[in-house]
């Protein structure tokens, strides 16, 4: 009997320890899995259907035709001094329009992620 009790206590402690954060993530105030699964269908009329985008798959516009790394003429971030490097600079100091890198904030609560565990990334 004591063995069963011990096992149940241990399993309860384990599941609560893991389950509570997951439960909290699921019941986030704005978006959680439960909300999102139900809301997917409600929102679908308002969001653009990618299936109907009518894109043939190739975009003939080249990178430089719409944005220029050598000449930074966009207005979203005035502090970009050097566009030649890639991903080395952080957010704009005044605009912060670049996304927060992984590991610095939790993944968005868009209903796709489970308990908010940080993503692990590796490039080989």
């Amino acid at each position: 009997m004591k063995k069963i009790l011990t096992l149940l206590v241990a399993s309860t402690a384990l599941t609560v320890a893991i389950g509570v954060p997951a439960w909290s993530a699921m019941h986030a105030p704005t978006d959680g899995v439960l909300r999102s699964v139900a809301a997917l269908f409600d929102d679908s009329a308002q969001t653009m259907s990618l299936a109907q985008a009518g894109d043939d798959g190739d975009d003939d516009n080249h990178w430089q035709e719409r944005t220029s790394r050598g000449h930074d003429d966009d207005d979203d971030c005035g502090n970009f001094e050097d566009d030649d490097d890639d991903d080395d600079d952080d957010d704009c100091r005044n605009g912060t329009r670049n996304p927060k890198p992984a590991g610095t904030v939790a993944p968005p609560q868009n209903g796709l992620f489970g308990n908010g565990a940080p993503p692990q990334v590796q490039v080989n």
Partner: protein, 155 residues
């Protein structure tokens, strides 16, 4: 003692399903040696009707280039907030990007599709380079892209 046992059994039974609501999924994307600079990649999910649900990963940290990920950009309006906390560096030609995410179980076998838009500097944009249904049966099956992506798998 019996009531204690019953309570513990009940709490265990109630909390275990919560653990099964998400699982770690590794998304592996290998790029072709296309001979250009690092590629920006947007990994995102649409539902059965083709509507954007959310983003899983953004490879490339400068939002001003996101317009080249044109399907993702069209669906999100280029909102960088969609990829806060799930953004990393762009991926070089010939390199392999491995991302492990804790994904909701509800995504699998429910009509959702994972898409990848790709773009590289001074090269053609490639929206919807990969579109793969998220199914339990599809795990481990490589899918080839059209231009930049040699193969994509999820496990």
């Amino acid at each position: 003692m019996k009531s204690l046992l019953a309570t513990l059994a009940l709490t265990t039974a109630l909390t275990f399903p919560g653990l099964a609501m998400a699982r770690p999924v590794t998304l592996t994307t290998t790029l072709n040696s296309y001979g250009g600079d690092g590629a920006y990649l947007a990994l995102y999910v649409t539902d059965a009707s083709g509507a954007y649900v959310g983003s899983l990963w953004m490879a490339g940290g400068k939002s001003k280039y996101y317009e080249h990920l044109s399907d993702w950009y069209r669906a999100t309006g280029g909102d960088a907030g969609q990829v806060n906390g799930i953004t990393g560096a762009s991926v070089g030609a010939g390199r392999t990007l491995e991302i492990t995410l804790d994904l909701a179980d509800a995504l699998f076998d429910a009509g959702y599709t994972l898409h990848i838009d790709a773009a590289a500097e001074d090269m053609r944009d490639s929206p919807n380079e990969v579109a793969v249904p998220l199914t339990n049966g599809g795990t481990g099956s490589p899918v080839a892209g059209r231009r930049y992506i040699a193969s994509f798998t999820y496990n």
